[in-house]
């Protein structure tokens, strides 16, 4: 790994796994099971159930051998996406052999919504929904919003308040802001928040025991936005830090901290999610601790009590309890965002349905 020695010192009990013939392109923790799913640059998938286990069997999940950019698990099936295709892998069961079904188009990743439906942001093609089955075929539904050219980039599942909701999900839709799509048994809507001049690249959620869930977003130029998900009239907050430089690629929250991956470095902004959410919010300038983690990092995520960092040499793990070291302080202005708009675009979804067959 290409950490500075000073950074490496703080990967205390964490581990580092170097690429062998499996060049890691993507990793994610699968919800509801302590498994880390890993994808490779040549379209294979494997799982890590403990850091010392190394890589178990590797499954080919891309006919085109493109780099994996998303992995989900639903109905005991593995679903993987690349820029070329989405592949559903069904393991052998009840005497049935393993089977595979493929959608012939790319996705910007995958995730599962609370109903178990698999969701894939397809850029300007819309959003894919699929519920894997043990039958011969899967119904794929692609939804677009009529007369609105949204680019669905990164997506996340949101908590669902109502039993029976099909999907409550949110997407970074670039210069169109953030889109929240609710597909429920009683109502369907799409609500958007746009921030003037901002190109929203990624979003995540933050929820603590006593607070309403927040959506936190980052724009390409590293402005950070946050708003309350359950409010009908959310007043977004925004923050910017001069020391966070480069083009933003990803945002996530860990233990009340906000982590931003940019083209320059990985930045850990301590307590920012708590500040956004909490009672100690201040509109005045304040000093906030920021740690910069150097390296050729191109993805980051959370697995158990560790932050994982993927770089071109492999994947390394940083204990969350060890994050708060070697920080610097930067002045942040956390304030209410003025230039924002809320749209309720409801509605006229254009849905395309097709069947793909397992073989």
């Amino acid at each position: 790994m290409k950490f500075k020695e000073s950074d490496f010192d703080h990967i205390l009990d964490g581990a580092t796994i170097k690429n062998d013939d499996f060049e890691i392109s993507y990793a994610c923790e699968l919800p509801d099971c302590p498994l880390l799913a890993l994808g490779s640059t040549d379209g294979r998938v494997c799982f890590l159930d403990s850091l010392s286990a190394g890589f178990p069997d590797r499954v080919n999940a891309s006919e085109s051998k493109e780099a994996i950019n998303g992995i989900a698990m639903a109905q005991y099936q593995i679903i993987a996406s690349t820029r070329q295709e989405i592949t559903f892998l069904r393991p052998p069961s009840h005497g049935q052999p393993a089977a595979k079904a493929e959608c012939p188009f790319g996705s910007h990743g995958l995730f599962t919504a609370s109903s178990g439906v698999v969701v894939g942001p397809l850029g300007d093609s819309g959003v894919l929904f699929a519920m894997p089955t043990d039958k011969e075929e899967i119904t794929i539904t692609i939804r677009r919003i009529k007369e609105l050219d949204l680019y669905f980039y990164r997506g996340i599942p949101l908590p669902s308040a109502l039993q029976g909701d099909f999907a409550n999900i949110a997407f970074a839709v670039r210069t169109h802001g953030i889109a929240i799509m609710h597909l429920g048994s009683e109502r369907e809507y799409l609500r958007r928040l746009t921030f003037s001049q901002s190109d929203i690249i990624d979003i995540c959620t933050f929820r603590s025991v006593s607070m309403n869930p927040l959506i936190i977003a980052v724009s390409r130029d590293c402005h950070i936005f946050a708003f309350n998900l359950e409010s009908n009239n959310p007043k977004p907050l925004t923050a910017f830090f001069p020391s966070i430089t480069g083009t933003a690629y990803k945002v996530l929250t860990v233990n009340g901290h906000v982590i931003i991956l940019t083209s320059v470095s990985l930045f850990i902004v301590f307590d920012l999610a708590m500040i956004f959410a909490g009672s100690n919010r201040s509109k005045s300038n304040r000093l906030i601790k920021i740690r910069k983690v150097e390296g050729d990092i191109f993805d980051v995520g959370v697995f158990l009590d560790m932050l994982f960092l993927i770089d071109v040499d492999g994947i390394s793990f940083l204990k969350l309890s060890d994050l708060e070291v070697d920080f610097e302080e930067d002045v942040s202005i956390v304030k209410e965002a003025n230039d924002f708009n809320i749209y309720s675009d409801v509605q006229d979804y254009e849905a395309t349905r097709e069947l793909i067959v397992y073989s």
Partner: protein, 149 residues
């Protein structure tokens, strides 16, 4: 951009290729056709092509691929849907080239059974960009995944 094809006055530095601006990719085509962003000037568009030819960023078909960066070396959106790479199909001998922005992921563009064009650069093109130090190793990984830079 008018309704006719216009030829740029410069030739490329390496191969002396000529370049044509096509109405189809400047708003004159169907809404589904890739379009250059209005903020990309004709000179910028030609520079994308010239960069592609200068570094010979090509796939097995001989098609060229280029991009545009700002003064801080940040990739710019050159298409109306944030595309950052342009494709230039190999032209016939002594004919001008033309090009258009391509999507980072393969689009869903109709019934699943229908064969669609690749409309995305081959991964060997990213390797050439890396070898020629036009992108960093992390940037190559992101491009391989279909991410934006």
């Amino acid at each position: 951009m008018g309704a006719t094809i216009t030829i740029h006055k410069q030739l490329t530095r390496r191969s002396s290729y000529s370049y044509a601006f096509t109405p189809k990719h400047h708003g004159g085509g169907l809404p589904t056709v890739a379009r250059w962003h209005p903020n990309v000037s004709r000179q910028d568009e030609f520079d994308v092509f010239d960069t592609a030819d200068f570094h010979n960023l090509s796939d097995q078909r001989g098609w060229l691929y280029g991009f545009l960066v700002d003064q801080q070396n940040r990739f710019l959106a050159i298409g109306t849907l944030f595309q950052q790479i342009a494709e230039f199909p190999k032209s016939r001998l002594n004919q001008p080239w033309h090009g258009y922005p391509i999507w980072p992921i393969k689009k869903h563009s109709g019934p699943f059974g229908r064969r669609s064009q690749k409309m995305r650069p081959d991964k060997t093109v990213f390797q050439q960009m890396l070898t020629k130090q036009l992108i960093s190793p992390p940037q190559m990984r992101l491009l391989q995944r279909g991410d934006f830079l």
